[in-house]
């Protein structure tokens, strides 16, 4: 099972400097978080998809993320009218659930904010391998240890998924019933507890071993200035991307303020 975050491809975004991509992702995140306008969220989503598709990310990765997010989006859209009762044209109403034209739109926007934020991250994570990510972070001033922690965590995410899958199978082979569809969410979660515990234990042990491996290869050597194998160079194209991104972001903010 390949649950890697990095998707190797020969795309323009892959070639871009990681610092630019970090900035891009940050801009998209901030815009999606700070602004509520429908247009902004939709624009963010559109831009994110355009970036990924033009950088030759196969559609199935994008679809996979959407599939994972769908339950969360649905939950938000359904729960929104419970708390936001603004709006005049009531479409549906029972008990605390009041659906109006206006808050239906709001619900959709809130729901769509989730993929907007997620894909902002994936614009970075799909196109940047973990070494370049660390390199970019360090070049921006993040201490190496933190950069290493972040990128190693990302590297081991697919490992955790694989572990989870193997452990689920091992536990099912002992009769653990994980496929109950009819019981409540709480019960289903409780059924997974043996798996979660085993994953945590294994994960902890693996973490210890990873740490030892890193130390035994000289991590944290004193009195030495750490060098880097991956080179970073801002090409003219990178500057262009950066400038365009910032201009667009500024324009969006201005428009959003004006409306």
């Amino acid at each position: 099972m390949n649950a890697d975050l990095y998707v190797p491809a020969d795309g323009w975004l892959h070639r871009a400097d990681p610092r630019v991509k970090l900035a891009l992702a940050a801009l998209l995140l901030i815009l999606s978080l700070a602004l509520r306008q429908t247009g902004v969220i939709m624009l963010a989503l559109l831009v994110e998809h355009a970036l990924l598709i033009t950088s030759k990310i196969p559609l199935r990765h994008i679809v996979r993320i959407w599939k994972m997010l769908l339950p969360l989006i649905a939950m938000i859209v359904i729960m929104w009218p419970l708390f936001d009762h603004t709006g005049v044209n009531v479409l549906l109403s029972f008990g605390p659930f009041v659906l109006t034209e206006q808050n239906l739109v709001m619900a959709a926007v809130m729901g769509l904010r989730v993929p907007a934020l997620a894909f902002a991250c994936f614009v970075l994570l799909f196109t940047t391998d973990q070494s370049m990510l660390v390199r970019g972070l360090v070049a921006l001033g993040v201490p190496y240890r933190i950069g290493l922690t972040i990128s190693t965590s990302l590297r081991y995410i697919p490992e955790f998924f694989a572990m989870f899958s193997t452990i689920s199978q091992a536990q099912q082979a002992r009769g653990l019933n994980l496929k109950t569809r009819k019981t409540s969410l709480a019960k289903r979660f409780r059924a997974y507890i043996p798996v979660i515990i085993a994953v945590l234990i294994q994960g902890f042990k693996m973490g210890e071993n990873v740490g030892r491996a890193m130390e035994s290869r000289g991590l944290g050597m004193q009195g030495v200035r750490r060098s880097y194998y991956r080179r970073l160079r801002m090409r003219p194209a990178d500057w262009v991307i950066l400038v365009i991104a910032m201009l667009c972001a500024a324009a969006v903010v201005a428009l959003a303020m004006a409306i």
Binding site: K205, M214, Q222, V224, Y229
Partner: protein, 668 residues
């Protein structure tokens, strides 16, 4: 020659495992010196302290591991009590057992670059050094690949390269081949040989693969309970086999063969003389240091009394089993278990009343507690696999596999890593369902029944015991299986007690399994599946990572189960264990079934085994070299000794069958 490593009276205690526990002693006054350029092998039973010693030589103990140290370790002049791990790492490379934990980068290149980066090596030198390191292990063409997409052997070679790129003086390896198949092991040892030829380097390797050690190592130390009990050169295996046997360490095949031959001869002699073992040879008659030496000696008729003459099989202690495809009756050959922990004792024995065994209900463990009333173990009615094909996404894993596994078979699934063994096993309890074809277990089509139901018929243990362990006590862990499949509280209690007794886990029954050593965790994992009381039990590499004594203990329990009619299926690379214990074997290669027959027929088909990447046991090789027909070949050293050490050395014992071969003298 200077000593590059010196340990002076080193003792290490790990922190207590539980809040109210005692510190666990792992090293006990160890004093050791390693000369520069030496290849030192560290052997010992599971838990003897090999890994701990390796950690102590890298400085990870005491700096990064919680515990208490006494004594001193000097590595290349650095005192591990004072120097930082990173500084010691300039001169010491370390390779762990598990590839996935020590390959944490996104490409092979980055992995090798990491140590160079840490040392501050200038950018323009990095490429060259990375290439050099990768060339040492012949992995340069895999530079851009993701480490986890490689095979086990390849991953460990990358780990070795990463340890070597800093050009250390010492390389410490902790059982680097434990998780690998035969090909992977060969790759790693070949890489180490190549490295030694090109660089002056000191190697310390903890290892259970004693066959390889005899070829590579300059010196061997034997550890037991944290102490070094013996040191010597690899001839130690041949000179003093009892040392290793009594410590539960697996002897190299040739040495085990020699030991068995000597043992049989002394027994035969002793039976004749007046109570005292008359050792006319004044020592061991057989002394093989390597497999080649053994084969040469044995095929030249180096056996006493053979003297180049035709071999005559004496009273065969083995009945040939019927082919499973033509007859559903259980093979009459089975393995008698040893309940106590005795290393190297199990012998193939003939249980002639096997064929009359009741087919349905069998009580478990009846000989020990006649009043106990454990729920009856329902025996299997058989497994039918018909034209099974399976693909993971787009890559085919199994192609048109058909076989029929009748009740009571002890089947080994053989083949390389990636040949489809685990995939096939996972179809047996419905974890995977066929892409095409069908699998029927006890009359149930696996694609039509949930795993929970199939788990009542087939219980499966994965290779890594930590994939299952999650409870806070061994007892709870073992009880989990039977509880999940629906036994009531009383039955669960009985099954749990029975399992704890069978596996000797009584003293540990309240301990948290996650805090136990690897061997005990493995026992708990297998016990917890044993307690599920199913008619079919499947185990993936049950002996991997275990010393010989523990492996034999586990296999003994499985053989006992099998003798009661339970179908046992094991996936194993351990050909010697398979030869000792399995009745049948199925060989997979690249998703296809190459052969399915009795163990004897499979193990003597050397062409088949070679194609599938499996080793041929020495006893088989020796039998065939003697010109014995395949169906009379011996599969284990014990069988070989029993069969081909002639009775002619017994002078006047009337109960021995006559043999026309005269005694021609003892070879030296």
């Amino acid at each position: 020659m200077t000593n590059i490593i010196e340990a002076h009276d080193l003792s290490w205690h790990y922190m207590p495992l539980t809040a109210d526990g005692q510190p666990v002693q792992a090293l006990d006054h160890v004093s050791l010196s390693v000369r520069q350029g030496e290849f030192l092998a560290v052997t010992g039973a599971t838990g003897a302290g090999k890994s701990t010693l390796c950690l102590a030589l890298t400085g990870l103990i005491p700096s990064s591991v919680d515990g208490f140290i006494h004594g001193q370790v000097l590595v290349n002049g650095d005192d591990t009590n004072q120097a930082a791990v990173a500084d010691i790492a300039r001169h010491v490379g370390y390779v762990q057992q598990e590839p996935r934990a020590q390959l944490f980068s996104i490409t092979v290149e980055d992995e090798i670059a990491f140590p160079l980066e840490n040392m501050g090596v200038p950018y323009d030198q990095m490429d060259r050094r990375i290439t050099e390191a990768l060339n040492l292990v012949s992995m340069n063409e895999f530079r851009r690949r993701k480490p986890t997409a490689l095979s086990g052997g390849q991953m460990q070679r990358v780990a070795i390269a990463a340890a070597l790129v800093s050009e250390p003086d010492v390389l410490i390896l902790d059982e680097p081949t434990a998780a690998l198949d035969a090909a992977g092991k060969a790759e790693v040892f070949a890489a180490l040989e190549a490295i030694r030829r090109q660089r002056p380097i000191t190697i310390v390797m903890a290892e259970q693969e004693t066959d390889w050690i005899t070829q590579c190592a300059d010196r061997v130390i034997v550890m037991d309970e944290g102490r070094i009990i013996r040191q010597g050169d690899p001839a130690l295996f041949a000179d003093d086999p009892e040392l290793f046997i009594s410590n539960g360490i697996e002897l190299p095949e040739a040495c085990e063969m020699a030991w068995k031959l000597n043992e049989t001869e002394h027994c035969t002699e002793g039976a004749n003389s007046s109570g005292t073992v008359d050792d006319a040879n004044g020592g061991h008659a057989y002394h093989f240091a390597t497999t080649d030496e053994a084969l040469r000696a044995l095929s030249n008729g180096g056996l006493a009394a053979l003297g180049g003459q035709q071999v005559e099989s004496h009273a065969s202690t083995v009945l040939s089993a019927q082919s499973p495809l033509t007859s559903p009756s259980m093979p009459s050959m089975s393995f008698a278990s040893t309940q106590s922990v005795q290393a190297m004792q199990p012998e193939r024995r003939d249980l002639t009343n096997q064929a009359d065994q009741p087919r349905q209900h069998v009580r478990t463990g009846q000989q020990h507690s006649p009043r106990r009333n454990s729920p009856d173990r329902q025996l299997s009615s058989g497994i039918a696999i018909s034209h099974l094909s399976y693909s993971y996404d787009d890559s085919p894993a199994l192609s048109d596999v058909s076989l029929s596994i009748p009740s009571g078979m002890f089947l080994a699934l053989l083949g390389r890593n990636g040949s489809g063994k685990t995939t096939l096993a996972k179809h047996l309890n419905g974890l995977l369902t066929p892409t095409s074809g069908s699998v029927t277990v006890d009359g149930l089509d696996t694609s039509k029944h949930p795993i929970g139901v199939l788990a009542q018929h087939v219980s499966m243990v994965f290779q890594n015991p930590d994939d299952q362990i999650f409870c806070s006590s061994v007892r709870d862990e073992i009880a989990f299986g039977p509880k999940s499949i629906g036994y009531d509280a009383d039955q669960v209690q009985q099954l749990t007690d029975d399992a704890i007794r069978q596996f000797g886990l009584h003293d540990l029954s309240d301990a948290p399994p996650a805090t136990l050593g690897y061997g005990d965790r493995k026992k708990v994992a297998i016990a917890s599946v044993f307690a599920m009381n199913s008619g079919i039990i499947v185990l993936d590499e049950p002996t991997a990572g275990l010393d010989r004594a523990m492996a034999d203990q586990l296999l003994g329990i499985l053989a006992n189960l099998n003798a009661q009619g339970v179908t046992v299926i094991i996936i194993s690379h351990n050909m010697r264990a398979v030869a000792r214990i399995c009745s049948h074997a199925a060989v997979l290669d690249d998703g296809c079934l190459l052969g399915f027959d009795t163990t004897r027929d499979i193990l003597t088909d050397t062409a088949l085994l070679s194609k599938a990447g499996c080793a041929v046991p020495l006893a088989v090789q020796a039998s065939l070299a003697l010109g014995v027909k395949p169906h009379e070949a011996a599969l284990t050293p014990g069988e070989f000794a029993a069969r081909f050490v002639p009775a002619t050395r017994v002078q006047s014992d009337a109960t021995q069958p006559n043999s026309p071969t005269p005694h021609t003298g003892v070879p030296r």
